[in-house]
Symmetry: D2
Subunit: 347 residues, 4 copies
């Protein structure tokens, strides 16, 4: 029985961790922390968990957390970095859903997050938790930084192209559309139903924090330096990310639809949570609502000699909490898919 | 040219007043106040007003307001009551969209709004601005309290039945459904898209502030005391109120569908903004989105000897800002429909 | 291993049956029929089932269906009644999600469904599959008629009041709000996103087919004849029913909030899928999205001496496919909750 | 008084034409045709038009149409081409909202619309009705082909860049997001609320009919041949198109944000319906809901030396019916903005 703790479980990644962990026989939820909701029953805050989770929120309690086998951080950035070192020292495995340990270049992180990093020395110890890239490292890791939602969808889409040097890595474009839950459960005017529904807009146009994370991951896979234009869009729905990815074929190369299709199918043939769609089918976020699956299609556009990749995920599952648990499964030697086989809710 | 001021125009009733007043040739927007947005261009805050409204928000400025011919209060409750007296004294007409002067029983108001009333002596001077009831009084009024959104839809639906003593006034039920804009533009978790869309729930179950206002209005029309069960529901849409009204036919009376239909048609035949639908047609909030119209159907349910009235309005227009302007038109001797003939946006 | 067949599985109750049955170890999906989609892979039609369901739709095939242990009918009305007899004769258990066998009064059924019933003699053999009422009968039944979506939410809400004769049964009102999936997956203009979103309207105002079904169920529980006003509303969301139920306290009776709360808690204390909310909490359809749970609150409104019950369910789960499987579990002597413990998806 | 007729006014561009024309003093709606709805009052079909439009649909009637001063075609493709010649001969001005006369290359049109063109000889007589490009020609035209919804948003966004040869015209990308009303009012499963809400997907991935139209327009403005990747997306909202446009700066050129901002502001300074947003502001479709305005922002992305243009319109107004009326105003020597000054509905 794995004793699991969750720090900062009052938001949407928190409730998803709870939804996915509560039914498991091999995991015991030991402690769920929240300063503001101290002593409030979890199920009062998240009514979907009534009769499924009997715990009460408690203020972060070091002793309780240290008694866990694994602690998830579902906190905003700049929180985990203060607590993680003590937990790791106490032998607790840590899975951080926040951005604190995703970027290896400390200076870059500090620039984008506008914060001094509290424990830069640990950054290089954190394994970047994208199983489709780092599965073996994750299996032996004590400390995993879970990729962001956009970075997951976008990396999974571009990786096969870059690994095979098929496209001009300096001219990648990721036009991404996210549901409003990506902004978290914060009382901010912009995310009111009255402001966000029946409308679509771009945001983070001049720079988004996921940009350096995506580039770091793509650069690992690419022989030449990646140049990425990344424009996220706020889309009037609760969940889901669709990344529309454009990559020009490398000068002088000939590619075909069949070749691309095979390439993607081969790359992901053993991946339980990446589904390369058959030719002629395209992803929609509704197909993965609530599931840990990422749907991908690849299309060769011959008139502009461009590869189009469409990549859809549930930002709260494969883009956050589901992937966190996928990492946990690997770290504890469990079946990678344990507790993550839930079918998407359609319609 | 009527010089108009708006106090507290940063919310949804504010932007609707501006949308409806800006195109008019006979009204000049003189001052639009907001403490927090002092010096911010109105069109920066409300991008739909770009090139339509050139004003800048200013802190409430007594001199500017006193120089107006009419001042609208689009403020939360307990604001207008502090400023109205000075404006009336200065000869400015006042149209208050808030609840401060709607309820004649001061004690009742203080109970429901949990506030000491700052100028109880003025309450009886405020004309309740429901033109379908008080048109003549409004024409000569200097001070109008604009009805709330639910009270407008519900009173218009019940009035013909009560005025004609057809139903048992002690057993009225109003099951009302409102879009989220009824909650205003406040950064509150419950109204986030992620919380409010794809769900419906009742609220204010044990008491809603509009209850005494509705009862006051219905009691004016009813020979016997009104007993009203009023349950509002938060509905996943931006705009619109649908009130589903149930009234048992008075013991011993016989009513027919034809009689009810005629009764309603007659009652509202001269009303420019109340549309009694032909038999077999029923209201939908989409039919009145953005318009000042209230759609009403009446149906006799013979198996339970009950009259069913359906009443639909745009809560921000006929339920607030449109009605406020309808009052202004009457107060200034203008055509009642001036500036309010906009057709609903469908789809 | 229970071999299960589904007739007419191309709509929303079909995909929900598949979503809930596919993960089970004790059920094998043997045959899924559809005339129009003959030979189409189920997962092509329902992309959420990719890699979860490998079956292909086939035209209704009597031999295959007769080889099943249980057959679900997820068909429009007037289909099951033609096929059920042969299956029952062949010893197959039948669970009919359609309306064909719900109403014991054949004449009444024929009136409302405007169809001659094809096998009236079987109607009395069908057990009405509301486990909270008929659990013991279901356990030994070979043939279950699964209640409709509205009837489930409304009966569960009114039953404790009627069973205890607390309210005037002749004056019940059910104001119900349903998501658009209640209309099924039919290409009908009214249910286009452009027509149905951002709006709410009543429908079936002068009569809805669920009315006689609800009355039949309530009359079983009531000492005096039920008079019910039932007005359904089309609500701009995919899933969910909220029933707002009004019942006047019986003349001369005194009831209290505490008493009602206890009554409801006691009535449903052993029910795995009915959750009576603690005082002060109220249902929202989002709390049960995708789950088999019905959330209920009861409130005494003293100013009008009325009992208000709020009842929320997912119309496709507890209101259809989940309840069908709950019946299957009972009929086969399995744990009643098997395969139905999924937590609602929130947000 | 201009006598106007509308052919095929039963869809969304039809109701928008009616909404915009009905309030005008200088236009008289003479005839509104529909074969299926012959004799049905227009306001029965479009309840928002009750009391605003008294007309009844009639079957297409040549005499009535020929008695008009102008006839709008709000028909699917391949309808107008059969009727336009007779009307033009009769001296009626024609404004065709369909695609029949937008593409000068007949062969190309026939390929994309998979139809033999019925009057190819008239194609070159049709003026492409984008006032921001063809204003002077429109003023003297008798026959205008109104641009498609995507083509309007995308051309307005790219034009200043191409006219000034700032970008590599061979590598343009248009990632466009459209509300569901773009699909028209057709009872098609894919556009049901249950299918289309809470999801986003790309469509027309391997080719969309607006592609040749966009390229034709861009090629007129470009010194070198345009290569365009155009991917439309179905977005869960009723109205609105957001086009996210990517254009790499031409090799060897240096551009700055200030220069781009000035260029766009200058290009559109006299355009009543194109709003270049100030630096730091970005379009959202909600800002133009119901209005004839196109909002545009331009941003220089220095890390990838790319120009990003965001262009938002209401697909049914500036993208269809509003633009049609803008053309009518020009053709009849009226104020270009007549009847088109309506402010967007926000929220």
């Amino acid at each position: 029985m794995i004793r699991a703790g969750i720090v900062g479980a009052t938001g949407y990644t928190g409730v998803e961790l709870l939804r996915l962990l509560a039914p498991r026989d091999d995991v015991e939820l030991s402690v769920v922390t929240s300063r503001e909701l101290d002593s409030v029953p979890v199920a009062k805050h998240f009514p979907n968990l009534r009769n499924h989770v009997e715990l009460t929120f408690s203020s972060a309690n070091d002793e309780q957390l240290k008694a866990c086998d694994v602690v998830f951080f579902a906190t905003p950035h700049a929180v985990a970095m203060n607590t993680v070192p003590a937990l790791l020292e106490a032998g607790v495995k840590v899975i951080d859903l926040s951005a604190d340990f995703r970027i290896q270049n400390i200076e870059l992180w500090e620039h984008w997050y506008n914060t001094k990093h509290a424990c830069p020395e640990l950054v290089s110890e954190a394994v970047y938790g994208l199983p489709e890239v780092n599965r073996e490292k994750i299996k032996t890791a004590n400390f995993v930084a879970v990729p962001g939602c956009y970075p997951t969808a976008i990396q999974l889409g571009f990786l096969p192209l870059l690994e095979n040097q098929l496209v001009d890595a300096s001219r990648l474009i990721a036009d991404a559309k996210s549901g409003v839950s990506g902004a978290g459960r914060k009382a901010v005017e912009d995310y009111l139903l009255t402001e966000a529904t029946e409308s679509i807009k771009a945001y983070g146009v001049t720079g988004h924090r996921h940009h350096p994370e995506i580039c770091q991951g793509l650069n690992h896979a690419s022989a030449s330096t990646v140049g990425l234009t990344f424009i996220p869009h706020l889309t009037p729905m609760i969940r889901g990310i669709l990344a529309t990815l454009y990559a020009p074929v490398k000068n002088g190369l000939n590619v075909t639809q069949e070749q691309l299709q095979s390439l993607f199918e081969d790359r992901y043939s053993n991946e339980p949570f990446v589904e390369v769609l058959p030719g002629g089918d395209y992803p929609a976020t509704r197909n993965v609502k609530g599931s840990n699956r990422c749907e991908i299609s690849v299309t060769y556009l011959d008139d502009t000699d461009t590869v189009l990749v469409l990549s859809a995920e549930d930002n709260l599952v494969k883009g956050a909490s589901g992937q966190a648990i996928q990492n946990m499964n690997l770290m504890f030697g469990l079946e990678e898919t344990a507790g993550l086989q839930g079918i998407a809710l359609l319609p």
